[in-house]
């Protein structure tokens, strides 16, 4: 009885009951607290703030690499140095020592900055690791360093016009924002300046350029420019099937490392000008082939058709040739020996509509569409009207200016079976044509025959291009430059160019090259024509770069 009372007491006593409930609640609260904390920890892991790595690399630009992964541009971490003059005691001594580390600084100006009561000034926007160590070794208070990312171009001047350069936009003590000013650095700004580059698997943009080929092209171009005393020069080499630019060189060039992101004012700004992409020139005879292509396309004539090649007048202007031609010449001969009269006659046969049609198909009437902004903004200079005299002169490359890249693209379409292509600076993973057909296959085949004849025919303007290794086809062009002082053209200043396709039996590459004001003085008489200035250069370029691009020499290829 007693015990049952006790039990009753324990469970039914109001105080005991409430204690029991209170205790249960406490246990429940404890469990809730623990499970709450667990849930909090679990959820926090997902929404974790940006990690250390991401924070650090948030402003790091991606690398630019060539088609084989060679690094053409990379971002490295450096330091900037700044000074708080308040913390410096022996100011003149410090100025002297700083001058010792940075010989380019002016000691007097430095001392003035230290003394004029300012709280802060930048010593250098970027210091090299060696200079940084020297500054630290001074053990001088008041000199501080800030983190700086800077762009490094390991190959210096190589492909400088394609890669472009950057500048520092905003900066403070710990941070500097870099942005592209020209070339690939500008064209792919959004891709390069991607945030959290550590999260990007492939931390490079792969260009279509081939480093050894590019190096060889620049080497030969510079050597030849010097030899021919030319002011400037340019070469572009492109895959005619997918539009990949394998090499693009413009001379003179620049070393973007020296700029450190800021353009020097005392430098010659023309070195930044991409002559291949931005420079438009009257190209001369390299244009002759376009009216022929249109004629073949419309079945107006065949390569054997005879054309009257006697000098003739349009609007009191006489059109004549430098060399003597028979009164009638075949179209084959007109191209091989480069007759202005014949070419003008062909253009008149094709007519304004026809000429414009072929120019439009080959992309000569508008900027070349490609990634580089320099290309997209370079418009060809077209004639204001298309009178007969204009048709005649345009047919042999006067009165209309295009870039070397335009020419390369046009010849690529003529040589690749007639498919439209769009030049690209990015590596493609396929070699197939992506463009639509714009010319007949037969037209393209005839063009290849004609272009090879310019090289192989004994009378051809590019006969010295005949290589014992490769079968090459192409067309020369020499255009006198317009005089700035007086009206008309200057006889002694020319732009010589050549556009070729190789190996011609199964064309893979187009090569377009030009020299500005060349003169070959190594011959008995000085010669400015493309045939004795640019053509020998192109021969060397092809024989040097062909093996690098696995183009098997023709004489050997037959043995396989």
């Amino acid at each position: 009885m007693k015990s049952s009372n006790k039990v009753k007491l324990f469970t039914e006593h109001p105080r005991t009951r409430s204690r029991l409930i209170l205790f249960s609640l406490m246990v429940l609260a404890g469990f809730s607290l623990i499970s709450g904390k667990i849930a909090f920890l679990a959820s926090k892991e997902n929404k974790k703030n940006i990690s250390y790595t991401e924070r650090e690399e948030i402003y790091s630009r991606l690398n630019i690499a060539d088609r084989n992964g060679n690094i053409l541009a990379t971002s490295l971490e450096g330091a900037s140095a700044y000074i708080r003059p308040d913390e410096i005691q022996k100011k003149s001594l410090v100025a002297k020592r700083l001058k010792g580390i940075f010989p380019d600084l002016n000691e007097a100006i430095l001392l003035n900055k230290l003394n004029d009561g300012r709280k802060f000034f930048w010593l250098k926007s970027i210091v090299s690791p060696r200079q940084e160590k020297a500054l630290l070794d001074l053990g001088q208070p008041g000199i501080y360093f800030g983190k700086r990312e800077y762009r490094f171009y390991p190959y210096g001047k190589l492909a400088s016009h394609v890669i472009g350069y950057t500048k520092v936009n905003e900066f403070d003590v710990n941070y500097a924002e870099i942005s592209g000013i020209s070339g690939v650095e500008r064209a792919f700004e959004n891709k390069l300046a991607i945030k959290n580059s550590s999260k990007v698997k492939n931390n490079s943009i792969h260009l279509s350029l081939d480093l050894p080929v590019q190096a060889e092209v620049e080497n030969v171009l510079k050597e030849w420019q010097k030899r021919m005393g030319a002011k400037a020069g340019g070469v572009v080499m492109m895959n005619i099937h997918n539009g990949e630019i394998v090499a693009l060189a413009s001379s003179p060039d620049f070393n973007a490392n020296k700029e450190r992101g800021v353009l020097g004012t005392d430098r010659d700004s023309s070195i930044y000008f991409n002559r291949v992409v931005q420079g438009v020139y009257e190209m001369g005879s390299t244009f002759k082939i376009f009216s022929v292509a249109q004629g073949l396309e419309k079945d107006l004539f065949t390569l054997d058709s005879l054309i009257d090649t006697r000098a003739f007048k349009i609007n009191s202007r006489t059109i004549e040739d430098k060399y003597k031609f028979n009164s009638e010449s075949s179209i084959y001969e007109i191209i091989v020996r480069s007759s202005n009269v014949g070419s003008a006659k062909l253009a008149l046969m094709v007519g304004e509509k026809g000429l414009k049609e072929i120019f439009s198909k080959l992309g000569l009437l508008e900027p070349v569409r490609m990634e580089l902004r320099e290309a997209n903004t370079t418009r060809p200079i077209l004639p204001k009207n298309w009178h007969d005299i204009t048709l005649a002169t345009v047919s042999y490359g006067y009165g209309m200016s295009v870039s070397l890249l335009h020419l390369a693209k046009a010849y690529a379409i003529l040589g690749n079976g007639g498919f439209n292509i769009e030049p690209t600076i990015l590596k493609k993973n396929h070699n197939s044509q992506s463009g639509s057909r714009v010319l007949k296959k037969t037209t393209s085949d005839e063009m290849l025959k004609l272009l090879e004849a310019v090289v192989t025919d004994q009378r051809g303007t590019a006969r010295i291009l005949g290589s014992k290794y490769y079968r090459i086809g192409g067309k020369t062009g020499t255009a006198e430059k317009i005089s700035i002082e007086k009206k008309g053209y200057q006889k002694d200043k020319v732009v010589a160019n050549f556009v070729g396709l190789f190996p011609i039996q199964e064309p893979r590459f187009v090569i377009a090259a030009f020299l500005d004001e060349p003169e070959n003085n190594l011959l008995q008489e000085p010669c400015r024509y493309a045939s004795c200035t640019v053509v020998p250069m192109v021969k060397k370029l092809i024989e040097r770069t062909g093996p690098l691009m696995n183009v098997i020499p023709d004489n050997q290829a037959l043995m396989f």
Partner: protein, 117 residues
């Protein structure tokens, strides 16, 4: 008695669970710290990587390599790749048939090629 046991177990398990939660919390903090340290070292390794890659590229500058091949030409006889360097299968076969002939062929390729055309 049973109730005491029950209460005891409850209190005990509460403590145990509290301890367990504390340990988990502590471990996860430590793990997070370790992750941070690892990330830091990955980052510094990556930076080294970048510098080394850039240096390697800088050392492989074509103009530098060109000078080096010229300097060491007598020992290494390195020449730019040339269209003559492509050999057809028939050449290889011929080379096998006579040891002297193949040596002569290699010899010619090594010594007969000049830089300039």
């Amino acid at each position: 008695m049973l109730r005491f046991l029950l209460i005891g177990t409850l209190i005990g398990s509460t403590f145990a669970l509290g301890l367990w939660a504390y340990k988990i919390n502590y471990d996860s903090r430590a793990a997070y710290q370790r992750v941070k340290e690892l990330e830091k070292s990955i980052l510094s390794a990556n930076k080294h990587f970048k510098i080394l890659n850039a240096e390697w590229a800088h050392l492989n500058r074509p103009d530098r390599l060109r000078k080096l091949t010229e300097y060491y030409f007598s020992e290494l006889r390195l020449t730019p790749i040339n269209p003559d360097d492509f050999i057809s299968f028939s050449d290889i076969y011929r080379g096998q048939s006579s040891e002297n002939e193949s040596t002569a062929l290699v010899d010619k390729r090594l010594t007969g090629i000049t830089h300039e055309e």
